[in-house]
Every structure is written in C-alpha cells, then in structure tokens.
C-alpha cells in the first residue's frame, strides 16, 4: 500500500513482488524522461530513460511506460529486491529548456523481507 511520510509518498512492497511507481509530469513539451534511484546519503543513480517518441522501454528488471495523453510516466520493477529500497525520482526535459532536468517529488520504496 501507499502512505505519506516526510513529504514523500511511500510504497511498501514484499520482496519478490513487482513494484509500480507512478509519476505525473508537468510539461507537454517535454521530449525526454528519466528515472533515477537515490539511496540515503548518495546522489541520484540513473536507472532508465525514454524518449517521447516511444511509449515503452525495457531494461534489466525495469520497464518504463510513457503515456503522453495524460502526461504520466511509470516505472515497473520486477521481482523487487531489498537493494531496490530507495527514493525514486522521475525527471523530464522540457524541449525548449535545453538540457536541464525538472524532477518530480519522489517516491520512497520500502522492500519488506
């Protein structure tokens, strides 16, 4: 289930289950989207990206889905592991804004053994 704490929504997942993290982005002109994982005390770590001319992209254990109609991005993690516990951020790159990224508020994922 989901709960809110420390300004971050939290997703609690049983180890081995699949996780789905959702993100609503703000700018319909954004042409590139990225998911980052951030562990406590560390910088954001790149997970997977997707361009606006795609609606799905798969990596190792992760899949990103893009729905431009409703400006929605999701990250699916298969067979969630304890090492997946972290805060996950989606980021968008508005097309007219050069290379700078705009980050969402983040979702905390807690993996229960």
């Amino acid at each position: 289930g989901e709960s809110v704490g420390l300004h971050l929504p939290t997703l609690s997942v049983q180890e081995g289950d699949n996780s789905i993290i959702n993100c609503a982005y703000s700018n319909s002109a954004s042409d590139y989207f990225i998911w980052y994982k951030q562990e406590s005390g560390k910088g954001p770590q790149f997970i997977i990206d997707i361009r606006s001319n795609m609606d799905k992209r798969q990596g190792q254990r992760v899949t990103v889905l893009l729905n431009k109609t409703v400006k929605h991005l999701s990250l699916q993690i298969a067979a969630t592991q304890p090492g997946d516990s972290a805060v996950y951020f989606c980021a968008e790159r508005p097309k007219a804004a050069g290379n700078k990224l705009t980050f969402g508020g983040g979702t905390r994922v807690l993996v229960k053994p």
């Binding site: 420390l6 954001p44 790149f46 361009r51 969402g104």
Partner: protein, 115 residues
C-alpha cells in the same frame, strides 16, 4: 572509470560566510550541471555549463550564487554571504554534451549546513 566526484562531502559554515563547492566531472564529459536538493524533495536545477561557458544559469536563486568552469573540466560553485536557507545538498552532474538522450550522471553531493 571514475564517476563524478564532489568535495567536500560536508560543509558547515556560519551565516554570512563565503563557501566554495567543487565538482570533478567524468573524464570526457563536456556538459556539467549543478542542482540543489532540499530534504524530501527532488533536485532543482541551478546552472549548466557546456565547455567553459554557462549555457543556462536560470536556476541560480540570486546574485550570491556564482559558478565557474575555467578549463572546461572542474567546476566550482561559489556562495557569498551564506544564509540559513542555503542549507541543502548541492549535486553536480555531468554528461557527454549532446542533446538527444544525453544522460546526466550525478555525484554524491555536498551537504551544506549554514548555522
């Protein structure tokens, strides 16, 4: 190879003091970015360098903040007359410098605390 490095990892200073934060990008990356992250929030863009020049400094909050990258590699973020509201984690990222799918790789950040 080595990732983005930032020094110091932690900096505690007093209100009104001047601080410098350093970023060493990944070798060969021509683009360098500074972001600021407050507790419980996503990173916020400050400034972006392509080579030695600041291509976009629209995120700098005021003129107390300044960044340089004189030789197109290492960058220094400078904050004058620090205020308690400047307390945050300052993140640096670098990328190859293209436009399409130009992945930004982040360093560990510098945690700045202004007392």
């Amino acid at each position: 190879g080595a990732g983005v490095s930032q020094t110091p990892s932690n900096k505690v200073t007093e209100k009104g003091k001047y601080v410098e934060l350093r970023c060493d990008p990944i070798s060969g990356h021509t683009a360098l970015y500074w972001y600021r992250q407050s507790l419980g929030q996503g990173p916020e863009f400050l400034i972006y360098f392509q080579g030695t020049g600041a291509a976009d400094d629209s995120g700098l909050p005021n003129d107390r903040f300044f960044a340089v990258r004189p030789e197109g590699s290492v960058s220094t973020l400078k904050i004058q007359r620090t205020e308690r509201g400047d307390s945050a984690v300052y993140l640096c990222a670098s990328s190859l410098g293209g436009y399409f799918t130009d992945t930004q790789y982040f360093g560990p950040g510098t945690r700045l605390t202004v007392l």
